[in-house]
């Protein structure tokens, strides 16, 4: 198949960027989207042009490194799919494909399609954990957890921290990301002691990092490659309000 790419090129955070048109002829439909970009890069280098920079690593949909807004949609057109698991058979020969970085004030561009998502790490650092140190823990089966609770916790814990929710949100809110971690720990007894403080501190950190407020329009859920539910945002809001009332 033959494609025309319009790719965001930006040398670094300081210089302005623009969309560049790049022809991508003879693309095999069985390629993944990133393999298509690999091939385009090989060809650019052969013409002595600098390759397009994009984040990627595991290429099996779990590390959360790959990003890209493809034709206006974070991670592209397939639901529940990261960019690395998107295949070219999803497109048609002759298509024009616009490829942009995940855009948010909290995600400054590093180069081309690579953005800095360390703001998400700093949210986790502010309280996205159970405060236990190594050693001295009770036997694992001394903490029985109803299967249902463990399953819900796992649904939330499946978040890969890619930031697509932020890129999709018109307010660039990180509420789905924050609520996923909060819910993972709130649904199991290990997370209970710090539940309210955790909600409070993670939301505060999210605000500090210049993420916006939730729009309640669920664009985040629509693009989430792990299909994490916005119900968790409702739960986080409840915990957050309770934390405020309790003065935690």
């Amino acid at each position: 198949m033959n494609l025309v790419l319009k790719v965001w090129r930006q040398r670094n955070a300081e210089e302005p960027g623009q969309l560049e048109t790049i022809e991508a002829p003879s693309i095999n439909p069985d390629m993944s989207f990133l393999e298509m970009l690999d091939v385009v890069n090989e060809r650019l280098v052969a013409e002595n042009k600098e390759p397009i920079a994009y984040d990627h690593d595991c290429r099996e949909g779990i590390c959360g490194a790959c990003s890209l807004v493809i034709n206006g949609v974070a991670h592209g057109p397939d639901r529940g799919t990261t960019t690395c698991q998107l295949h070219m058979r999803r497109f048609h020969s002759g298509d024009e494909i616009v490829i942009e970085p995940f855009r948010a004030r909290a995600f400054p561009v590093i180069r081309d399609l690579v953005v800095d998502r360390s703001s998400l790490d700093r949210i986790i650092q502010s309280g996205g954990y159970v405060s236990v140190s190594t050693g001295g823990t009770p036997d694992a089966n001394e903490i029985p957890i109803p299967k249902r609770a463990a399953d819900v916790a796992m649904d939330a814990a499946a978040c890969i921290g890619c930031g697509a929710c932020v890129a999709a949100c018109k307010n660039a809110s990180a509420m789905l990301f924050v609520s996923a971690k909060a819910a993972h720990l709130a649904h199991i007894p290990q997370g209970a002691p710090e539940r309210l403080e955790r909600a409070r501190s993670m939301v505060a950190r999210m605000d500090e990092e210049t993420f916006g407020a939730c729009t309640n329009t669920s664009d985040c859920e629509a693009v989430c490659p792990k299909e994490i539910s916005i119900e968790f945002i409702g739960e986080l809001n409840r915990d957050f309000r309770q934390a405020l009332l309790a003065g935690r």
Partner: protein
């Protein structure tokens, strides 16, 4: 090179306790005076950095990814072993130890493996306390499943994302210590050299992948947790960024590299589909619990798999290995797949594939239960291949997955360079010539949570603080060498990308140092690799500058190291004149095609010592003596 394992004397079950009682301690008030460098933030590095900081040490942790949460441990699917015996099926620390040492084909150290089995139970407790959402039974207790190479159910799992959940546990513990300012995290930072001063590891040199800045870091001890070298093969189940650079740089500074030929080819991966292929995707080994592996009885059978009647299918694992069936260890399963494909009975367009069939499982348990157990794996398979595994069997083929070889370490997980510790997949210690499924996660976390935090204290209490800071000549000299090498690569206007050379190296290694090896092929590879290396330096193209974000430069540096390292893998494979575990020398096999080990001549770890550029490395040996088990021929029949 001195290779003293430092294994304590006494009964096997008491060694670790005895050693812990005898090791020196660092006074709690003095711990903050020590700075420890941890390179890598996966299960081993992340858990070590967090645990060391909790103890009171100051830690600098480095990773090349944009976040410590993205280390490749995250991609492990199936599970983590522990000798909990929660299923009441006869498991014990001894049995996990025995399975692991036998699974490794008697090429690992008894005392290390026993300790691993001992601390395995603590890992599960630790992870549960952190909130890792392991699978549970309806009664609220933990669920287990069985895995290749074992006849008990000792594998704990979190759907098909066990590695992710364990890594997030370690990442969260690490995040807590970053928040407490006990760990300084350096992301998008690559270690490019080890600084050795007065015979002691005293720091590292890094390149900031965003700014290109080359920086020096001093520490009282250095811990490498930088994973394996499977990407030497180019196509593997590793993440694209996985590389050997940190380990290889340490090797060039004097650390011994043990058993580089021990690589694991995983039997259940999605077959290669085209020239452009950038990586291979693993389908968790847990699928072999319910899926049945088969090929047509006759070669050249072009019918759709569902049209082939039972009588014309060869369930070759069940036929050849009736007691373990589809759950034989990985090396055995991979070789068996290669054999049926070599016989011309492989399936798919390339003929390099076998079926993994869930039809019986769906009949037995219902589609819903199969979906519950393996839904995410089936989904991934369908995304990649465009085939529905509920309706037609999966096609699978072996792919490079894990490397048992690594930097040599003693019982304290310290290399032969004092102060340089190596943990997780980066070391050689626990898996011998073949790793059992669900044991990598166990080893990474054992090293990071429960072994290194003790043993590094002993080193620091004995050696004291490092007298050398970053203004020392040894730092400036090493940093200058790193800058020179980077400058040699950048701006090269050849005609080919680093990827081109990486693929070519991968092909050589796959052809001659892959599932089957023989001396003629290895000798050939020993000629081809240096030629390819020369071509690389003459014709590689690295555009852009060294003081900016430059992916081509990053990749070129890693490929340059793989091009040197690949040769050592081949040398090691050539010198090991026996078949054991993942290392199958075609000259050493029975008439039935099973591996023939040589315990007289090869019951040792081969440890390679760098002798300088353009000189052949020297091969040393650490004998593996078996006091508590008797090496036997591995039989899964």
């Amino acid at each position: 090179m001195r290779l003293e394992s430092g294994v304590p004397s006494g009964p096997l079950a008491d060694k670790w306790d005895k050693h812990r009682a005898e090791m020196k301690l660092v006074n709690p008030a003095n711990k903050r005076r020590f700075r420890i460098i941890v390179v890598g933030s996966g299960l081993a590095g992340g858990s070590a950095a967090a645990s060391l900081a909790e103890l009171g040490y100051d830690v600098d942790c480095f990773c090349f990814q944009d976040s410590p949460r993205r280390a490749h441990s995250i991609a492990a699917q199936g599970g983590i072993n522990a000798a909990k015996n929660y299923q009441n099926d006869g498991d014990s620390i001894w049995r996990l130890f025995y399975d692991t040492i036998k699974g490794g084909d008697y090429r690992s150290r008894e005392a290390n493996v026993y300790r691993l089995a001992q601390v395995s139970v603590n890992i599960i407790d630790q992870c549960v306390a952190q909130g890792v959402p392991f699978a549970r039974e309806y009664g609220g207790l933990l669920d287990n499943r069985s895995f290749g190479g074992a006849q008990v159910s000792r594998t704990f799992y979190a759907r098909g994302q066990t590695g992710q959940q364990l890594l997030l546990g370690a990442y969260q513990a690490l995040s807590r210590q970053i928040h407490a300012k006990k760990v300084t995290m350096h992301t998008r930072t690559e270690m490019l050299d080890l600084v050795v001063s007065g015979g002691r590891a005293v720091g590292i040199i890094t390149r900031n992948l965003v700014t290109g800045e080359i920086l020096s870091w001093a520490g009282d001890a250095v811990v490498l947790a930088t994973g394996g070298y499977g990407n030497a093969f180019y196509l593997s189940t590793n993440a694209k960024g996985c590389n050997v650079t940190a380990s290889f740089r340490a090797y060039k500074r004097g650390a011994g590299f043990a058993n580089p030929c021990f690589t694991q080819i995983h039997p259940t991966c999605i077959p290669v589909s085209g020239e452009y292929q950038s990586k291979l995707t693993l389908m968790s080994e847990s699928l072999r619990n319910d899926g049945r592996v088969w090929v047509p009885t006759e070669g050249g059978d072009q019918r759709a798999p569902t049209a082939i009647p039972e009588a014309e299918r060869d369930y070759y694992l069940e036929r050849r290995y009736p007691s373990f069936g589809n759950l034989v260890p990985r090396d055995v399963a991979s070789r068996a797949a290669k054999r049926v494909c070599d016989e011309g009975r492989g399936v798919g367009k390339s003929g390099l594939g076998v079926y993994l069939d869930f039809n019986d499982a769906i009949k037995r348990m219902g589609k819903d239960v199969v979906e519950q157990k393996y839904g995410n794996l089936f989904h991934m398979y369908q995304k990649i291949t465009d085939e529905n595994p509920y309706a037609t069997p999966m096609r699978i083929f072996p792919a490079v997955h894990y490397t048992m070889g690594g930097l040599w370490v003693d019982y304290n997980l310290m290399s032969n360079v004092p102060g340089l510790h190596v943990i997780g997949e980066a070391n050689f210690s626990d898996h011998g010539a073949n790793r059992l499924g669900a044991s990598a996660l166990m080893q990474g976390l054992a090293d990071g949570y429960f072994v290194l935090p003790y043993t590094i204290g002993n080193y620091l209490a004995t050696a004291g603080p490092s007298p050398v800071k970053t203004d020392h000549d040894d730092f400036s000299r090493t940093a200058a060498e790193v800058s020179d090498r980077t400058r040699r690569l950048v701006g090269r206007k050849g005609h080919r990308t680093p990827d081109h050379f990486h693929r070519a190296l991968g092909q050589i290694l796959w052809d001659h140092c892959g599932m089957g090896r023989n001396s003629a092929g290895l000798e050939k590879a020993l000629k081809e690799i240096p030629a390819l290396r020369q071509e690389f330096w003459e014709d590689v193209c690295v555009l852009g500058g060294d003081r900016e974000y430059n992916v081509a430069l990053e990749h070129a540096g890693r490929v340059a190291d793989f091009l040197e390292f690949g040769e050592i893998m081949v040398r090691d494979a050539l010198e090991r004149r026996e078949s054991c575990g993942g290392h199958f020398r075609e000259e050493y096999r029975t008439s039935e095609g099973e591996a023939v080990r040589d315990d007289e001549g090869h019951a040792h770890a081969a440890v390679w010592e760098f002798q300088g550029a353009d000189k052949a490395p020297v091969r040393h040996r650490e004998e593996m003596s078996f006091e508590f088990v008797t090496p036997s021929t591995r039989s899964y029949k």
